[in-house]
Amino acid sequence: MNTHVKTPHGIQADLSRRSFLVGTAATGLVLGYAAVPGIDQALAAPSNFEPSVWYAIAPDGLVTVTCGKADMGQHIASTMAQIVAEELGASWKDMRVQLASNDPKFNDPVLGAQITGGSWSTMMNFDAMGRAGAAGRLALTEAAAAAMGVPAAELVVRDSTISHPKSKKSMSFADVVKSGKATKTFTPDDLKAIKLKTPDQYTMIGVSVPQLDIPSKTNGTAKYGIDVMLPGMLYGALVTPPVRYGATVKSVDDSAAKKVPGFVKAVTLDDKTATTTGWVVAVANTYSNARKAADALKIAYDGGPNAKLSSESLQTEARRLQALSDSGEYFVKDGDPNAAFGTAAKVLEAEYTTSINIHAPMEPMNATAEFKGDILHIYSGNQFATRSGAIAAGAAGLDPKYVVMHQMWLGGGFGRRLDADMMVPAVQAAKATGKPVKVIYTRENDMTMDFSRPLTLQKVKAGLDGDGKLVALSHDVVSAWPTQRWGIPDFLSPSVDKKGPLDAFTVNGADFFYTVPNHYVRAIKNEMAHNATPSGQLRSVAPGWTFWAIESMVDEIAHATGKDPALFRVELLDGKGKNDGGAQRLRNTLLAAMGLAGYGTKKLPKGEAMGVACVSSQERATASWTACVAHVAVAPSGEVTVKKLTVATDVGTQVHPDNIRAQVEGAALWGMSLALFEKATLKDGGIEQTNFDTYTPLRMSQMPEVTVNIIANGEKATGVGEPAVTVVAPAIGNAVFNAVGARVRALPITADAVKAAMKA
């Protein structure tokens, strides 16, 4: 179990007279910061602890929910408002949202920090938002009861109105707030004791209400980080070195840049947080001039220790590490697979790889920094205000308590905006010029300096007994460790062999729900890749590669024993022991997807087939049970056309069905894009792909038919932003094998690889 998933505690509330406030707060995790010298206290506890506020009701009756989560298109702000509105009894037309600053009072009630990822937001905030909403309803009702002179128990709350059916009296929320009589306060125990609605009482949860942010995204008024304009602001354009990480600037000749009108100065970053290396920012009065000046700078670099490395060298190093018996740490250690292989009737072994992948959100990275009095203000859409504020502080040489992060709408996140590199040039340029500075990456900066999905190598070995039963599985995962890079111990997990903490965000998913008596999973850090390609969390993180290996291998085993791959999975999902519950849900989801796709019932032409996969992404403790049937057509050239993706996902409880469909469809298409179209490569220490001509996410013309089927069985709400990413690549790979007998074990699946495997 990952240690960052903790139970909420320390809930407090406050009501003020004029504008009525109810909220919950959690004490923060004490987040250590050992990896970065100089800013050890970067993530210290809040300087001013105040009872936090999740929403306020104004005297005009408008309810403004403050969302502590980054909204990058998952409409989480709207979802939070919906959960509050359900228990509060507010009308949807009265709901508004705003984005939180980095004040620790807006920390996630479970995670104790401001971080958005892991498909955690709904599941971890559902209870707190519901209780906050219910507390508001109780306080309003009590005040209304006193004002009307009737028992509170006889009041009905609906559509922002509190009514007393017997006397036909009623008051709007606005009336009650204006009266100033809502003064009930709640202790943490009071909040905990509130009886929340049961699902049969829901009138708002489960309804696809219009998303509150959408109108502003159809008329150009939604403000993203890149849209921030401050009086007297300058613009910064970056020059990043040819090597992804480790280069240093030897000299900067700005003589030509000085001839560019509006040029102010070139600032060579002195980044004590070690987030960036060898970056220079050219500052000018407009972005165009800053860009011209940046292009005119003549910079000499020392390429540093990674300047000769390539994807091939990282892969070679991964193979070397995997072959060592004592490398890495154990994430799962059940039974003794090595002994079992010795007595197995059949042993299968295969190596699976994934390439470097780039986030490439449509809004290039950017940040605006302004020093105002003692305070450093940062304007940027970011997924990890707690850490990013600390990085900004580190770049400025300030205590993090003097940094205010102004959250903006995110023009795509996908994990990229968990990182804080964009803060560094903005802060140092603002400091050097004494003016507010907005730094905007070019697409080339954005792609070549991405905190990418790491290149991975996985070796899976399976042992079958005489009856073809899977009795042993060992699984080695070699990669850079994206989450260890944060330097926050709470986000690491203890290894089962007590060799120290491991980065579970490289192996999550490998602790699957299949029953295999002897099962090892080893997490092996590829230090060379870790240093040369600082990796990040790309939508779905580890399950995006672990399930590629597992779900391919399970298919290979089924074919080796002459079983139907889907039915073989059903057999393995027997729900025994620790897999009880989860395995059955995953089995049911798989069967649903099979039924919906017509698996095994449709006769398909030659060269076409269906393939299945099923996953428990994201983490074992936070899974959404997801299955996919991919229907592909494979041409003699090896070219793969995906004709249809049928996805089923068990999300327990659905807050907003239409949003879930949108997220699951987007995630599935991400999965397909990563499976077929997206590949980055390292050469001479640098990422070779620089724009959308060479790094090519899926376009409209490549869209298959996608059907999304949501299973809502009343269990707790789970996340939907990521899980469907992970199920698609293995489903496609398995379908390709079923269609033409070609087993491809490297992502992305290319026509050449399919053709070569067809011949083999």
Binding site: M72, G73, Q74, H75, S208, P210, Q211, D213, I214, P215, S216, K217, T218, N219, G220, T221, A222, K223, Y224, I226, D227, M229, Y235, P261, T286, Y287, S288, A360, P361, M362, E363, P364, W409, L410, G411, G412, G413, F414, I440, T442, R443, D658, N659, A662, Q663, E665, G666, L669, W670, S673, N691, F692, D693, P697, L698, R699, M700, S701, M703, V706
Partner: protein, 163 residues
């Protein structure tokens, strides 16, 4: 001084002739609905209209826009109620929303000439516009919905016309 006609208004800006129109619109005119995505004409986030034709404003120099009618997302309709904008809301298209100004402007240039496009025509016209959230199926549905609404409106004699 360069004189531009943008969203029906004449405005003068100070910019070198080779400045991309995108940055003039965003910074000098402070109309930030038009987005920077790739700077190379590969993603469509910066799409605006020049005399009703969809162009990539990152690849259009400000001097090339002189004497032409520039339309941005802010000027597509008076109240954000172009049939495409209404359809975008009805179909709940945007996720992060960053590419959607460009998507809507690109789609508007199709519907102004062809109010009954086939799915293939929509795909061919829209394929240069990337959506990293992959909202493509909703974009298609919204275009079809807007096209139908525009046909209905013109059949019933409404004066609404696409720009």
């Amino acid at each position: 001084m360069t004189n531009l006609n943008i969203n029906g208004r004449n405005m003068s800006v100070e910019a070198a002739n080779d400045t991309p129109l995108l940055w003039v619109i965003r910074e000098q005119l402070q109309m930030t609905g038009t987005k920077f995505g790739c700077g190379a004409g590969l993603c469509g986030a910066c799409t605006v209209h020049l005399n009703g034709e969809a162009v990539r404003s990152c690849q259009t120099s400000v001097s090339d826009a002189v004497g032409k009618k520039i339309t941005t997302i802010e000027g597509l309709s008076a109240k954000g109620d172009h049939p495409l904008q209404k359809a975008w809301i009805a179909e709940q298209v945007p996720q992060c929303g960053y590419c959607q100004s460009g998507q809507i402007m690109q789609a508007a240039s199709l519907l102004s000439k062809n109010s009954n496009p086939t799915k293939e025509e929509v795909v061919a016209h829209m394929d240069g516009n990337l959506c990293r959230c992959m909202t493509y199926s909703r974009i298609q549905k919204a275009i079809m919905r807007a096209a139908a609404d525009m046909r209905t409106a013109s059949a019933t004699g409404s004066e609404r016309r696409p720009t």
